[in-house]
């Protein structure tokens, strides 16, 4: 049974007509063409599809569209637009300090897990701008990286946390 549901995605109001039980990820990727949210396991246990719902990290592969009704969704495409950085990366959208830090640390290989990890880290840094390494590891433990870039990713998140601390301080 399809319905028209209104979402606030990356600061814009978007109406979507779909079955309200549709996993949010399919709506983001296929209806709104926001391909940066990656499908991993479909069960919410690998972190690839992490987006922010009202600022909190959730897994969009097992969150129904109806759960986002009237709420604010932030995807990787909307992260850089938060006004925290005017830097541009690769000639594309303004980069969030986390995204810049991942490039600076060359943190990634195949990159499939990265957008989910960046969103998970963004959720953490909103709650806790200066997390310890143990806190980062614990918060990100749901996220899997099969290429084994964990060490670099941890460095990137610490770097972003420091950059953001300096800017706000």
């Amino acid at each position: 049974m399809t319905q028209t549901i209104e979402l606030n995605v990356n600061g814009a109001r978007r109406a979507v007509t779909a079955d309200p039980a549709t996993p949010l990820i399919y709506v983001l990727r296929n209806d709104l063409k926001l391909k940066g949210t990656r499908f991993g396991c479909g069960a919410g246990v690998c972190g690839c599809c992490t987006v922010l719902l009202d600022g909190r990290g959730i897994q969009s592969c097992n969150t129904p569209l109806s759960a986002a009704d009237g709420r604010e969704v932030t995807t990787i495409e909307g992260l850089g637009g938060e006004g925290q950085s005017g830097e541009r990366m690769g000639g594309k959208a303004a980069a969030h300090p986390l995204q810049q830090a991942f490039v600076d640390e060359q943190a990634g290989q195949c990159g499939y897990c990265l957008t989910g990890i960046v969103m998970g880290a963004a959720a953490l840094l909103r709650r806790n701008p200066s997390p310890t390494e143990a806190e980062i590891r614990s918060e990100l433990d749901i996220h899997l990286c099969r290429c084994g870039a964990y060490d670099r990713i941890l460095r990137a998140i610490r770097r972003a946390s420091e950059t953001m601390g300096k800017r706000s301080g």
């Binding site: 296929n30 990656r38 690998c46 991942f102 195949c110 990159g111 433990d141 899997l144 099969r146």
Partner: protein
């Protein structure tokens, strides 16, 4: 001028315009047959091209491989891309540069040695005359064959190679650009899903899919033998229809799988052909210290983080495929064979997928997409596997067994070395055998037989026996392969292939011999090595890890919980050298707390890229060693979710330190698989160092550790 023999990949793809196009707008297009699977190869190749052409790295545009235009470089595998693809591109670019120098010399009426190139502009020394590649591109004809007459740069002329340039692909990957095949969006595109049988040999006894055809959005239900699939307008509709379709099928299954908990016994029981890989001297059994031990590994999954995906369009007899295959040309051959069409009616284009560490489901997905797209002519179909099928139906790295016997004499010389290996052929990639090596081809109503697999191909080392012949200098040795037929579990190549278990066995056994003879294990290695590069990496890892400064490393100095161990190999005895020291905390469970590696891969193209590959190889191997094994009952693969197949997480990942011994005057050597075997042995040796217990069957689980403790 003399001409050198061309690098093999260039000899097979001689036309220069197949590799490089100099555009009038200042962009340099570079084509390669090698594909990006997360290893950073495309950036490394761009760096090589920029170096040889003398243009800025940012001018290089790497064109994704397709079967229409790109050089046919076979498979991207075996840590050979920098060696082979890089070597060919390097020579091709040197010839292109030379062609432009000749053209500039004509235009400027200058001698070649009066000219130099800076970022694509050819300057005449001691004058302000110049000409650019972009101006000259109309008059330089690259539609000619490489002839080997222009020489690539010498080590002392390099300006970009060896520098840690940033990867080209990373900005798009962290900003969420649509870089993966999963992200393709074509006009009229529909979504497909396949429903696999519940087990390898399951027979479809009854099927009625008529009620699926009326489900929301369903455009086609496909049944061909036991190949079942659906095509729908929306992705979630395809997922729902596939779930319903699965309930429409009744299967008959057979209990034809081995006992997953007794794989060494199973492997020994299989019929085999004995192949002697090395025999020299007369093994002496009368030395003072004789040891024997067996080592095994289970079936290992690629466990890609994202499921396989492909898009296909079938229209008026032409077939287009976009897929994450590592072997677009050979895969095209097997798709053609399966469909009974000519290969040139099919175009296969590479688009990146989630990380790939060998032969996974990428090629299977390509055929699946074509089979579904045939049912909706003209519409592209985006086919994605489920995560569960990705784990259960991809080829696994095969289970293997090694039995070692050795003797050390009183002088600390190893006088007897016997290595006996049990393995099936690892290669099951498409395009190499009589029958297609694509999953769906075996399930069709007119099925093709699953091919037997291949152990050896021209130009590459046999797979199962990699690293079986030791790099150490032993006067008396015998190395034997018991070559098994195809196993009842689907297998294919996985990172480091046979080299992983062979090195694990050799490097654990060196420690076991050393302990039996009361010799420091690293010293025992050095005593039997004459290769200076091997010695250099071992000494570097020993120094940097702090292993060298420890007073004892023979198992007797253990403090009951913390230990260090070393493993070493030169991957396949011809690629990179790697020595690894692992530090562990061992009790009832094992925690790897730190890993230090030293590698020598000859000329380093990009030190950051090498370090990234080595770090990733270390972490993946720690995961294999501590956690991973494919599970099955006697009928079905039961590894279907991350709960069934846990891999290493952030909270468990050790800090890794990599040092590179650069040798700019030596050929570049593949590094992607170099550390797997050494890491595994280093961990097992460190566990013994910590608690005096030796676990020889992987993974090193809590159960195995407790059982080994009980045995001591």
């Amino acid at each position: 001028m003399t001409s050198e023999p061309l690098p093999p990949s260039l000899a097979r793809n001689r036309r220069l315009d197949r590799w490089v196009e100099i555009r009038t707008d200042g962009v340099v297009e570079v084509r390669t047959g090698k594909v990006e699977i997360g290893q950073g190869i495309v950036s490394a190749l761009a760096q090589i091209a920029a170096e040889e052409l003398d243009v800025d790295y940012t001018r290089i545009r790497m064109i994704p491989a397709d079967t229409g235009r790109s050089p046919n470089e076979g498979v991207t595998a075996g840590s050979r891309s920098t060696m082979d693809g890089g070597g060919a591109l390097r020579q091709a670019c040197a010839e292109v540069r030379d062609a432009f120098l000749q053209a500039a010399a004509r235009r400027l009426d200058a001698g070649i040695d009066e000219l130099f190139v800076r970022d694509g502009t050819i300057h005449r020394k001691a004058s302000n005359e110049s000409a650019t590649y972009w101006e000259l591109s109309a008059e330089v004809d690259l539609a000619r064959d490489a002839d080997g007459r222009a020489a690539p740069k010498r080590a002392d002329q390099l300006t970009l190679v060896g520098k840690p340039l940033p990867r080209l692909d990373l900005p798009d990957k962290v900003t969420g650009a649509g870089v993966y095949v999963h992200d393709l969006e074509l006009p009229g595109m529909l979504h497909g899903r396949v429903v696999r049988p519940p087990s390898y040999g399951a027979v479809l006894k009854a099927f009625d899919g008529t009620r699926i055809e009326t489900m929301p959005g369903v455009r086609a239900v496909v049944r061909d033998g036991r190949f079942l699939g659906v095509v729908a307008a929306r992705e979630e509709q395809a997922v729902a229809a596939a779930a319903a379709l699965a309930r429409c099928a009744a299967w008959q299954e057979a209990a034809d799988l081995p006992d997953v908990d007794a794989l060494p016994t199973f492997l020994r029981s299989r019929p085999s052909q004995v192949k002697v890989l090395s025999e020299k001297g007369v093994p002496q059994d009368k030395g003072a210290h004789a040891v024997s031990a067996s080592y095994s590994r289970p079936f290992l999954a690629h466990a890609s983080i994202g499921p396989a995906c492909a898009v296909a369009r079938v229209q008026a007899g032409a077939i287009e495929v976009w897929c994450q295959s590592q072997s677009i040309h050979p895969t095209r051959l097997d798709i053609a064979k399966t469909l009974g069409v000519a290969p040139d009616t099919i175009t296969v284009r590479h688009v990146q997928g989630a990380g790939c560490y060998g032969h996974n489901a990428a090629d299977d997905a390509a055929l699946d997409a074509v089979l579904l797209a045939r049912a909706v002519q003209g519409h592209p179909v985006r086919l994605q596997w489920s995560h569960e099928d990705e784990l259960a139906w991809s080829p696994f790295g095969p289970a293997m067994l090694v039995a070692m016997n050795g003797t050390v004499d009183d002088a600390g010389r190893i006088v007897n070395w016997r290595h006996e290996l049990w393995s099936n052929p690892h290669i099951a990639r498409p395009g190499l055998q009589e029958s297609p090596s694509l999953l769906a081809a075996w399930h069709l109503g007119q099925p093709f037989a699953q091919p037997p697999g291949i152990d050896s191909l021209p130009g590459i080392q046999p797979t199962s026996e990699r690293n079986a012949v030791p790099i150490y200098d032993f006067a008396n040795q015998r190395v034997v392969l018991n070559a098994l037929d195809r196993l009842p579990v689907r297998t294919g190549t996985l990172r480091a292939i046979g080299g992983f278990l062979n090195t694990f066995a050799i490097e654990c056994f060196m420690d076991e011999l050393a302990h039996a003879a009361g010799i420091e294990p690293v010293e025992l290695r050095l005593k039997h090595l004459s290769d200076a590069r091997a010695i250099a990496v071992i000494e570097a890892a020993r120094e940097r890890s702090g292993l060298a400064s420890r007073s004892r490393h023979d198992g007797s100095g253990r403090d009951g919980s913390r230990g260090m161990g070393l493993g070493f190999a030169r991957y396949s005895n011809e690629a990179a050298y790697a020595a690894v020291v692992a530090e562990v905390e061992a009790g009832e469970t094992i925690r790897v707390v730190r890993v230090v590696a030293a590698v020598d891969c000859g000329r380093t193209i990009n030190p950051n890229g090498v370090a990234n590959q080595v770090e990733g190889g270390i972490v993946q191997t720690v995961s294999w060693v501590l956690k991973e094994q494919v599970r099955f009952d006697r009928t079905r693969i039961t590894t279907r979710t991350w709960d069934d197949y846990p891999i290493l997480r952030f909270s468990e990942a050790p800090p890794v330190e990599v040092s590179i011994i650069d040798r700019p005057d030596q050929p570049s050597l593949g590094v992607g698989e170099a550390v797997a075997g050494p890491v595994a042995a280093a961990i097992a040796n460190a566990v013994f160092d910590a608690i005096g217990v030796r676990v020889r069957d992987l993974p090193l689980t809590r159960e195995r550790l407790l059982a080994a403790i009980d045995d001591t």
